[in-house]
Symmetry: D2
Subunit: 324 residues, 4 copies
Amino acid sequence: MIKVSIAGGTGYTAGELLRILLNHPGVTIESVISSSSAGVPVSSIHRDLFGETDITFSGKVGQPDLIFLCLGHGLSRTFLAENNIPATCKVIDLGNDFRNDPKFGGREFIFGLCELNREQIRRANSIANPGCFATSIMLGLLPLAASNALTDEIHVHAITGSTGAGKKPVDTTHFSYRDNNISVYKPFTHQHLSEIERTLKVVGNGEVPPIQWVPMRGDFTRGIFASIYTRWNGQMSETETISYFKEYYNDSPFVFVSDEPISLKEVVNTNKCLLHIGFHNGYIHITSIIDNLLKGASGQAVQSMNLMFGLDETTGLKLKGSAF
Amino acid sequence: MIKVSIAGGTGYTAGELLRILLNHPGVTIESVISSSSAGVPVSSIHRDLFGETDITFSGKVGQPDLIFLCLGHGLSRTFLAENNIPATCKVIDLGNDFRNDPKFGGREFIFGLCELNREQIRRANSIANPGCFATSIMLGLLPLAASNALTDEIHVHAITGSTGAGKKPVDTTHFSYRDNNISVYKPFTHQHLSEIERTLKVVGNGEVPPIQWVPMRGDFTRGIFASIYTRWNGQMSETETISYFKEYYNDSPFVFVSDEPISLKEVVNTNKCLLHIGFHNGYIHITSIIDNLLKGASGQAVQSMNLMFGLDETTGLKLKGSAF
Amino acid sequence: MIKVSIAGGTGYTAGELLRILLNHPGVTIESVISSSSAGVPVSSIHRDLFGETDITFSGKVGQPDLIFLCLGHGLSRTFLAENNIPATCKVIDLGNDFRNDPKFGGREFIFGLCELNREQIRRANSIANPGCFATSIMLGLLPLAASNALTDEIHVHAITGSTGAGKKPVDTTHFSYRDNNISVYKPFTHQHLSEIERTLKVVGNGEVPPIQWVPMRGDFTRGIFASIYTRWNGQMSETETISYFKEYYNDSPFVFVSDEPISLKEVVNTNKCLLHIGFHNGYIHITSIIDNLLKGASGQAVQSMNLMFGLDETTGLKLKGSAF
Amino acid sequence: MIKVSIAGGTGYTAGELLRILLNHPGVTIESVISSSSAGVPVSSIHRDLFGETDITFSGKVGQPDLIFLCLGHGLSRTFLAENNIPATCKVIDLGNDFRNDPKFGGREFIFGLCELNREQIRRANSIANPGCFATSIMLGLLPLAASNALTDEIHVHAITGSTGAGKKPVDTTHFSYRDNNISVYKPFTHQHLSEIERTLKVVGNGEVPPIQWVPMRGDFTRGIFASIYTRWNGQMSETETISYFKEYYNDSPFVFVSDEPISLKEVVNTNKCLLHIGFHNGYIHITSIIDNLLKGASGQAVQSMNLMFGLDETTGLKLKGSAF
């Protein structure tokens, strides 16, 4: 059994990790760390876990085989520095500290996009888990990058659920504001752009055309819907292109290319990514959907953990979708 | 023209007052008071008013004919004491300071339920505007009280939208929590019980049986849906009872008795109250719906203002419902 | 492995059964029956199953060990009569055909409320799965019935999600109508009353006081929130009563009594029922929450299946909640 | 008083017209036509109008000064042909029959985009009311077209509420499907493209670059949020461009350019269009929001009516926003 600790245990991604790991056949939970809530049952914060576990938050790390860092962005470095995590303890960071700056304290963080870096992840002892938006967009673009078909600007609108904004209540997550509302934020400048560009640069011929991306806030709780298009160079036919996508993800148990148009709830509460591909006006149009807390965060982190510990990639991740 | 000031200008009920008053033909806005936002355009806080007004928040009251108090509960007394509001300035308090304790600083606050106290309100210079839950429940019960038909316990479940919880983001108004969720709060103990009981005591024979009331939080923004039942004493027939309700509200331009079952959105963004009456198992069952920010707060306050200044009760309150 | 068939394969409860059974370690799916969709992939109807299964709908039953009937109310009798299901094939009916009228074609249908009839279900070959509303209300009342504490009228408001209304689009499930809306339907007359009364009659001293129940339509997709109160006879103290509830469900792996107030999403996408108990004004107030498609339908059906085939009651039902 | 008839009286846009016109000081309603519902109160279909009007649906047109056609797309021609509407009766068609094909039966339909065709509309006797999506996108692009700044491809994602899909319940407006869901439809091929292109062709130098547009279905009831960008040719500075937009709409009482980012609910239940402009990566990015049933349909139609009958453009259209 893998002994696992979770730092930043009261946040959304920690809660989601617990929801997965409590049913994971290969894991025991060593500690769920929260200095502010030490001693309190985790189910008093993650209320849906009532009846599932009697674990209490802990002030100490313990001696885990693996620690998940679910801290605010920028706090992972501090945590590792202050807690003397031994080199033998594997680390998966769900924040953005190491995605673009992977070396720290003798560790080298592998970018945890399993569909791209599966073999490196198997051998890794430190993982920088990709961002949620980045995951949905990269999985839509990887086959194009790999086939050198990214030759012109990429246009993206991607809309996220409210859980992407974290647990602290703020004006833009107030129900009275958010319900039945839509807005744009950080247009053309979202911080996930850098990890997308950095990732695409090591695929295919390494060309990364400019990405014009408008992120949006949606009035739903879970999920990311990304609509992506770029000029289609036509080197492969439409049929060949779709086949190439399917083949590219053939060994990836969570990514599927749908011949039918897709809607967000087809992946909610699963670790899946669904893609749909269309061709219009000389463009290839890709829609890509994930659950931001699962394939976009905690699910993907467990997927990496499975690879790092030699388990089947899907262990504990065959989740019943909520569908509605 | 009535010169109006609004204290506590940044909150939800103040914003809703502005939405009404900017289109009211008999009102000019003297000041929208906010010490924290003085000098800032009101449309920078109440964003939907962009294009409607260039008014800025003011630190001073000015010399209004009427001041609406949209302060947190308990702050109206302090405001009146500190701001030397002259006796010639009428006051409508949207908080709960004077509903059950109506005398203060030489003023006597009339309970602003127009359907009950219309004549007193016409002559009043100070109004305690009823609470939102209380309004929906009282309008459902008044005809029964008036006909001495409240002879047994009253059972109420009433569910409110998120705007009832105010503007400050908290855990229970976080979209990630509230969306698609339902919960109970303050069961059997909600603070509006006292103004309901106090009101019913002066109607009919003054008997007020116990009220068993479970308030609920709904996953919608506007509105209150109250489901009320009590033993039906059968002194009038079913048809007579319904006729009595209709007659009781005959002169009330915002209360209607529907022969068809009702759903909440039939009143959203209006100042109306709709009632529907059924008879089952020896009980009379009344459903009552209002928009909590309008008939439950700012709309009702303007209705009182109209009466106090000799205007038609509906002036400025013929609002287009949102329906969807 | 249990060979399972599902009749009425295109509806909501059939889809939910598939979501569970595809991950169930003791089940193989023999057939998903739909005469109208025979030959079509089930994932073309239950879109979230894309990537999970390649099964197609079948026009034939096959030779299952167990058949789940997910047909419209009233159609289960017809199905059994027309399809010559052998007596050796177990049947779980998710409709209401056999809940109050349990004998048919040589079969005797046991009421599938596992928390009450666990031992009978283990030995049963035919199950009438309880209704969703009925489940939430009965689980809230069973300990009171068992301790002879149901001595006065029972008052219930229970609010259901839209999936309870089934798959066919109608006016009251139109998004433009339902979103941010609340309504009452079938007040005091809902058809689940009879199975609740019939069930409570065989518990404790068999007294069943009148149940006054107002069902409501909520603007969420999954879940039932039931708020129940009745006069508290005080034979046990508050503490003893709560302890009794906990003890009563001690062997029931899906029912939990929370000391904290509960909100609906704590059980969504799980097979759990959470209860919370309060005491006010001489009443005991019980809130009870379930996911209507799981503990209220397909999850409860699988729970019965597990018992009927000697599996652990929770097999395949340790589901990750959606929480948000 | 203008005598008005409404054909297709049971649909969403007819209901919204009634909500506006019942409070319009210059209008009397001659007839609300519905062959299927003749004799029935309009408030039995448009339930929120209960208490507002006693009008019943009529089978006959009567002798209106103006008739609004709220029929399914394609049915306006049939209606006009079959009902012998005299040439002296003005017509406003809310369908798409005459937007691109403006001559019929001796009438010439003017495209009812008041911000562009104000003077023509004043003199018109027949109006083709613009489509909802088209309105939001055109209002975002008109100033660029007028200043010859549309020199490169235009990229649009625009997301609509469920009322855009009409009243008939279908799979994609089922609450269980639509709630918390997002999807794309008719990508790059939406039928409103032609009226947008046709309109832009008569503005400025008449150049219309290709428009790449992905329409989306949102999980809200009212509103359209359009996010539009195109290469910015930089002939004017950023400040000059924003000033030009403001100046362009200076005489348009419903279009406003916000210096702050906008969110959809700032216009819901109003006839306003809000625009916000940003500059990034050599692109000009315009967000444009309207209420699809008001500025995108019935409100815009009344705006045209006001102009046609010499009234102030805003008469009856100063609506209280719902804000939440």
